[in-house]
């Protein structure tokens, strides 16, 4: 039951009503004027105020205003004279909850009070719900804040660069790792740049396409890219990206970047030191080779001198041939060294691969037949004129065929038929396949592994160790590949695949 304040200047009414209300179980305070009523109100804070409208001094409307000022939640019920609808409406406009007409009938009063009590209860509950809700929101907000702070810390402290975008590709997260790689500060990037301004073009394009398609895709595998940084430098980085989804809708993307500069630097250092070691080996090998040439030149000039002294044309010719041969070896060596050290691919031109191979075979024919080695030509006749690096093909084939003949000559096995087969065929519409297969001495796994990696010769003083290196370099520059299979004692097969295009006229 409620705490009530009853205000009326007619004491008899106050008495009768208060008896009736108390008997209903209400806690009733009374006052006989507006002023007194407000005093009691301040002291007792009743839930419901019942006030007469017409009183000497402060009237009911004024009491209503003051009470609402003091506590807007208070239920104020106005008691009006019979037919005074005008005052009743004014009171309702000023926030009164209800009104009852004089003479006040018990049942009407009871219903009015009940309604007031219900409103009070409802308001109470609403307040409790609101407070609960506010509490819950506060707790949830706190939780969210903590989580997002934690994520912020994760992203900030990550060594990898993390770049996140919204669904349009606009950048919204750019961590210090990313600042280090891209060279931009986060203030320059966040909400100011799009992935297409920041990512390497191929990545940006791929990303934009996926964003547009909105297909569910897993993160991409790590791949290496060259990142164009702010200062114009190119930074090598590993990249993996993913689209972010919320209920099948793309809401953004995230890219992870790994700085590979340190690793690249170390790799280069390693290659450099390996190269230096290889150069050490080469210098020894080269010195040996040059010593042999020198031997030939000195010997040749000795024989020439003898021929001059004796007027012996035979000696002169033999000596001069020695000199010429060794001059030839010097120029071969210099050519190999230059090819190896130069960074330039061979020029493309119209040529007939079969004719090039035929020329190589003819060049090697003398040495081969002197050593009972047969050179077999298997050129696909359909190969006509094509556009490719003729010089590279010639040099590479010459090196391989010459090696194969050597492999046969230095084979110690008895009763073997030594053959070098030179095959050319189309591998595809844009690839030619050259094969040089010999039945010579073959090589060990160890030798095979070293073939293209360093200056490496198994021919004692008779090789520079440059031949295969040069071949490898030429083939690579030409965009081709070279493969080797070999079996010790049985022979080796070298396969070169080189791209070609149609001859242009």
């Amino acid at each position: 039951m409620s705490k009530l304040l009853l205000i009326d200047d007619e004491k008899s009414i106050v008495r009768v009503l208060s008896i009736s209300l108390r008997s209903d179980g209400h806690d009733v305070f009374t006052a006989y004027s507006g002023e007194e009523g407000l005093d009691v109100f301040r002291k007792e804070s009743p839930d419901i105020v019942l006030t007469d409208i017409k009183m000497p001094g402060m009237g009911g409307i004024e009491v209503l205003k003051r009470v609402k000022d003091l506590d807007p939640d208070t239920e104020v019920i106005i008691i009006t004279g019979h037919g005074d609808m005008h005052s009743a409406i004014e009171a309702l406009q000023l926030g009164a909850s209800d009104f009852i007409n004089k003479p006040v009938r018990d049942e009407v009063l009871a219903i009015t009070l009940k309604r007031a009590e219900e409103r009070l209860l409802l308001r109470q509950k609403l307040r409790e719900y609101t407070e609960d809700l506010e509490n819950m929101v506060r707790i949830a907000t706190e939780e969210v804040r903590r989580k997002s702070e934690f994520q912020d810390k994760l992203i900030t402290s990550s060594n990898d660069g993390i770049v996140a975008t919204d669904e349009k590709g606009e950048i919204i997260i750019f961590n210090p790792g990313a600042e280090k790689i891209f060279g931009y500060s986060r203030l320059e990037v966040i909400r100011k740049m799009n992935v297409r301004d920041l990512y390497p073009p191929e990545v940006a394009k791929d990303f934009q396409q996926r964003l547009k398609q909105g297909k569910i895709v897993k993160g991409t595998d790590w791949k290496e890219f060259m990142i164009p940084a702010k200062d114009g430098k190119i930074v090598p980085a590993g990249f993996s990206g993913a689209l972010l989804y919320e209920k099948d809708m793309v809401v953004g993307s995230v890219g992870f970047f790994q700085d590979l500069r340190e690793i690249k630097y170390l790799q280069q250092e390693l290659i450099k030191s390996e190269r230096l070691a290889a150069i050490g080996q080469t210098v020894t090998g080269l010195a040996h080779y040059i010593k042999n040439i020198l031997s030939g030149l000195k010997g040749g000039s000795y024989v020439v001198n003898v021929g001059l002294d004796k007027n012996d044309t035979g000696k002169l010719k033999a000596g001069w041939a020695m000199v010429e041969r060794n001059v030839g070896r010097v120029s071969e060596l210099v050519l190999d060294l230059l090819t190896y050290s130069r960074e330039r691919g061979s020029e493309l031109q119209n040529c007939f691969p079969n004719e090039i191979a035929e020329d190589v075979c003819e060049l090697m024919e003398v040495k081969a037949s002197q050593n009972q080695v047969e050179i077999i030509r298997e050129f696909a006749p359909s190969i006509g004129e094509v556009h490719m690096g003729a010089d590279a093909v010639h040099r590479a084939l010459l090196n391989l065929v010459s090696n194969s003949v050597d492999a046969c000559v230095s084979d110690l096995s008895m009763d073997k038929e030594w053959q070098v087969r030179v095959k050319i065929a189309f591998e595809s519409n844009e690839m030619l396949k050259f094969e040089v297969i010999d039945s010579g001495c073959g090589m060990s796994e160890e030798t095979r592994k070293n073939l293209f990696t360093s200056f490496f010769s198994t021919k004692g003083g008779k090789g520079t160790g440059l031949g295969l290196l040069v071949t490898h370099k030429l083939v690579e520059e030409h965009g081709g590949t070279i493969d080797v299979t070999s079996q010790l004692g049985k022979g080796s097969a070298f396969i070169i695949r080189l791209p070609y295009s149609k001859a242009d006229h």
Partner: protein, 131 residues
């Protein structure tokens, strides 16, 4: 005609050169371009001295040298090793073969590393062929 000297080398330049040096100094040159041919020439001609290369196809100079020194009737023919590889390397290869169970062989009578001066070659031959 002077003493017979057999040159075993696979390099035609070396052969032309050594043959010329020998002719100039009144020796009779014989030629073989590998170990197999060399052994045949030795049996046919009984040379007074052999000039031998080490690295050759078919039959290496190392093998031929061991055959010569292991043959009672041939081991007294003086041998000059004329090679592009260092004397040290050659001797080590001989030691290695001995360690693997082959009969030990004496060191060559002379060892000349290429490139060789004609005078050095002639001096060495003169020292080794005792009339």
């Amino acid at each position: 005609m002077g003493n017979k000297v057999l040159v075993v080398d696979d390099d035609p330049d070396i052969i032309t050169f050594v043959v010329t040096v020998l002719e100039e100094n009144s020796y009779t040159p014989l030629v073989a371009k590998n170990g197999e041919e060399g052994m045949v020439k030795i049996a046919e001609e009984r040379p007074d001295l052999i000039i031998l290369d080490v690295l050759m196809p078919k039959q290496s100079g190392i093998k031929m040298y061991r055959e010569l020194k292991g043959d009672e009737s041939l081991k007294n023919i003086p041998v000059i090793i004329l090679s592009g590889i260092a004397k040290r390397t050659f001797l080590r290869s001989q030691e290695a073969l001995t360690e693997f169970g082959s009969q030990p062989v004496p060191e060559p009578d002379a060892y000349i590393e290429k490139p060789v001066e004609p005078e050095e070659l002639v001096e060495t031959i003169k020292k080794l062929i005792v009339e």
